[in-house]
């Protein structure tokens, strides 16, 4: 495993690349529809993440 793929893996594991993946998905599946900004996407994804049971004892 080289540095570049390790970095890619780390970004994927932490959700650092979530917006890039969203943009990619958007371009393929919903072209032409309005795209969320980076900040709006981040806020929305955090709100969704924390509205269910996501952390344990």
């Amino acid at each position: 495993m080289n540095i570049r793929s390790l970095w890619r893996w780390l970004r994927a594991a932490t959700g650092d690349d979530a917006y890039d993946r969203y943009v990619e998905h958007h371009a393929v599946k919903h072209p032409g529809e309005p795209l969320l900004t980076r900040a709006a996407f981040y806020e929305e994804s955090q709100r969704r993440k924390w509205s269910g049971v996501n952390r344990c004892c």
């Binding site: 979530a18 599946k29 981040y42 004892c57």
Partner: protein, 684 residues
């Protein structure tokens, strides 16, 4: 490949058997912790390689050709097919909490053996099976929650029981965790200032990730982790400065007040400001510390000093009352089986799992790793001198507030310890005293500091100690924030049935009221725990353990019911046996907590005993002042336990009724499984 796997399997079996033999034969002489670690790793790998694979193939009929909800509903947001190791990481980060650190530390009062054995056996046959099965069933049902699955497959009662059970457990869980943090911070300016500093640091990271560099999680987390590590060192300077030292030297009651206000704020503020950034910090610290602990244990390979079994298996233990059966199972809780995991396994994870073939790694594998963390916690507790372990973990109400009296009592139990020894240890750890620091966090921190200290440098013991305290506090507070928030949503859901507007999760008055009610619920138990001269943990932890294991029983009932309804009665024992065991253990424990005549064990007898003492005027004034509240609380705990017991048995009976109908060919609710759809994803 298959041959290599078989050879590995045989090798692991032999190694595991050797390690267990060493543990079995070294009953009257010290055993090295590496044998325990080796035995555990082998047991988990074998369970994963054979039992989990068999369950996946035969019981669940896992079908990698079937599209998962992540693929069918892929929306680039919450439903996203994700690589199996990343799902594993997310799932592990979600299930790994402070429970497996605290439970084994407390259970060490029975000696190292009972707890260690249950962590291994309970995980491989119970906890891992539960997590994997619920994850699989939810994946087959579009990622539905445990409560929804209970309602769909068993009936409205099962669903309601799961919801109420979860809410109550959440309240108890948060209060006990709050108590652990308060006990770690009381009269410790270093710990208090470090833990307080994590709040503005989290807010700074929150602003960074939302305003300045949106979504740059790695940058924000790196900044936060650096600041938090600096706060650990900065706490040492504050501790050394006379004026600041006094400022942060706080009594338990005001500290509990801070935790309560903090919990309320965290539940009503936007998640990006406090909760989300705190969670990034705690996840990085958690993964890093667990890895470092494993490496340090290998380097240090310490000898276990606690006897295999202590005299306290007879129920006279100072940390909490009750015999080894059933209380070792109740106390270990999350390290072996955790009902709470069923909520995560039917929450976010089934929505991102890319292939059904991954449920074994994600469900079974994550829990096995979590259980290994519990093994490391029990090692950290039992490598201390037993006398030191009991001096730190026993409440002043049991051994006396004066150090002389405490060491005298503990030495009398056969675990020698001296005042000088405790004083030297406290000085080395940068604390004024380590007596009666109940809750498990300080003793775990001393254990971790000794492990890190002897592996990575002894001179830094006080830094290691406060790093460990900060590490525990950070993710306890994350669970506290997240739990309060989830509790708020559940309560709003319930209140919405009474008056519609209260059910709107974004209507601010409803948010404020529901959050305040949830915080008041756990705040009450936290406050009572803080004023209890016996430390409070002795009451709250068993209550938490019972409720958590009962939630597991509810989850296993749902799983067993579904397995039977899918025409696999012959495999129902896979979840049915752990269910039967948990039903037995929790019922026995609940029954003893309700009916025991021993005031150290029974809630009602403790209340009556204290009431009699209060009436006859034999209590010293400071105890008499809090006695009425303690009496009320013990009775409340008794009724609560009875309520939990009733709920869990109703669910089990409901499941048996439906299974019986099915086997007799009578109509039952049809399976809520989503129809088969072939996957288009290439397996990687």
């Amino acid at each position: 490949m298959e041959l290599a796997k078989n050879i590995l399997g045989i090798f692991l079996s032999i190694l595991g058997a050797c390690a267990l033999t060493v543990i079995a034969l070294h009953r009257d002489e010290p055993v090295n912790a590496l044998w325990i670690l080796t035995a555990a790793v082998c047991v988990y790998l074998l369970g994963y390689r054979f039992y989990a694979a068999w369950i996946a193939a035969k019981v669940l009929s896992v079908d990698p050709s079937r599209a998962t909800p992540a693929e069918r509903h892929d929306n680039g947001r919450d439903f996203v097919p994700t690589h199996r190791w990343i799902v594993f990481g997310h799932h592990f980060a979600a299930i790994a909490g402070p429970g497996p650190l605290v439970g084994p530390t407390l259970a060490a009062q029975f000696g190292y053996l009972p707890g260690t054995l249950w962590i291994m056996v309970g995980a491989v046959l119970g906890g891992c099976v539960q997590d994997m099965t619920i994850l699989f069933l939810s994946t087959r049902r579009d990622g539905r929650s445990l409560g929804q699955m209970a309602r769909d497959e068993l009936g409205p009662f099962g669903g309601f029981a799961a919801l109420i059970g979860t809410l109550m457990i959440m309240i108890i869980l948060i209060s006990v965790l709050g108590l652990v943090v308060v006990n770690a911070m009381k009269h410790s300016p270093w710990a208090t200032s470090t833990v307080f500093a994590t709040v503005p640091i989290a807010i700074l990271v929150g602003l960074y990730l939302r305003k300045w560099r949106p979504g740059r999680v790695l940058e924000g987390s790196a900044l936060g982790v650096a600041l938090v590590l600096f706060a650990v060192i900065g706490g040492g300077w504050i501790d050394g400065s006379p004026s600041l030292h006094a400022f942060f030297d706080l009594q338990p009651v005001p500290l509990a007040g801070f935790v309560i206000v903090y919990g309320w704020l965290a539940a009503i503020l936007p998640v990006w400001l406090l909760l989300a950034p705190r969670d990034y910090l705690s996840t990085f610290l958690k993964l890093g510390t667990v890895a470092a602990l494993a490496i340090a244990l290998l380097l240090m390979h310490p000898t276990i000093k606690m006897p295999a079994v202590t005299q306290f298996v007879d129920g006279t233990g100072p940390l909490f009352g009750g015999k080894v059966f059933p209380f070792v199972f109740i106390t270990i809780a999350c390290g072996a089986v955790s009902g709470f995991h069923a909520l995560v396994s039917s929450g976010t994870t089934p929505k991102i799992i890319g292939s059904e073939g991954d449920v074994r790694l994600v469900g079974y594998g994550s829990m096995a790793l979590e259980s290994l963390v519990a093994i490391m916690a029990i090692i950290a507790a039992t490598l201390l001198d037993p006398g030191v372990y009991f001096a730190i973990n026993t409440g002043a109400g049991i051994v006396g507030a004066a150090p002389d009296a405490a060491v005298h009592t503990i030495t009398g139990w056969g675990f020698p310890v001296t005042v000088e020894q405790m004083k030297d240890l406290a000085t080395a750890m940068g604390e004024s005293s380590l007596f009666a620091r109940t809750g498990g966090a300080p003793s775990l921190a001393v254990g971790m500091a000794s492990i890190f200290g002897s592996s990575f440098g002894r001179g830094l013991l006080s830094i290691w100690y406060h790093f460990a305290i900060m590490f525990e506090a950070v993710f306890i507070l994350t669970t506290l924030d997240a739990g309060t928030r989830v509790g708020r949503f559940m309560l709003q859901d319930l209140l919405g049935n009474i008056w519609k507007p209260l059910g709107q999760t974004s209507w601010y008055p409803s948010v404020l009221i529901a959050s305040a009610l949830v915080v008041a619920g756990w705040g009450y138990f936290l406050y009572i725990g803080v004023i209890d001269p016996n430390g409070g943990i002795n009451i709250l932890w068993p209550l938490f353990g019972i409720s958590n294991q009962m939630l597991a029983a509810i989850a296993l009932s749902v799983a067993t019911g579904i397995i039977i309804k899918s025409g696999k009665v012959r495999f129902a024992w896979v979840t049915g046996l752990p269910l039967a065991w948990l039903a037995l253990v929790t019922s026995a424990a609940a029954w003893q907590k309700i009916t025991s005549d021993d005031p150290k064990l029974g809630f009602f007898s403790a209340a009556n005993d204290l009431a009699a003492k209060l009436a006859s005027g034999v209590l010293p004034p400071e105890k008499a002042a809090v006695a009425p509240q303690l009496i009320f609380n013990q009775r409340l705990d008794g009724w609560l336990t009875l309520f939990f017991l009733a709920v869990v048995w109703f669910v089990i009976i409901d499941m048996l009724r439906i299974s019986l109908r099915y086997t007799r060919g009578l109509p039952v609710a049809t399976s809520s499984e989503a129809p088969y759809q072939v996957t288009r994803l290439s397996s990687t």
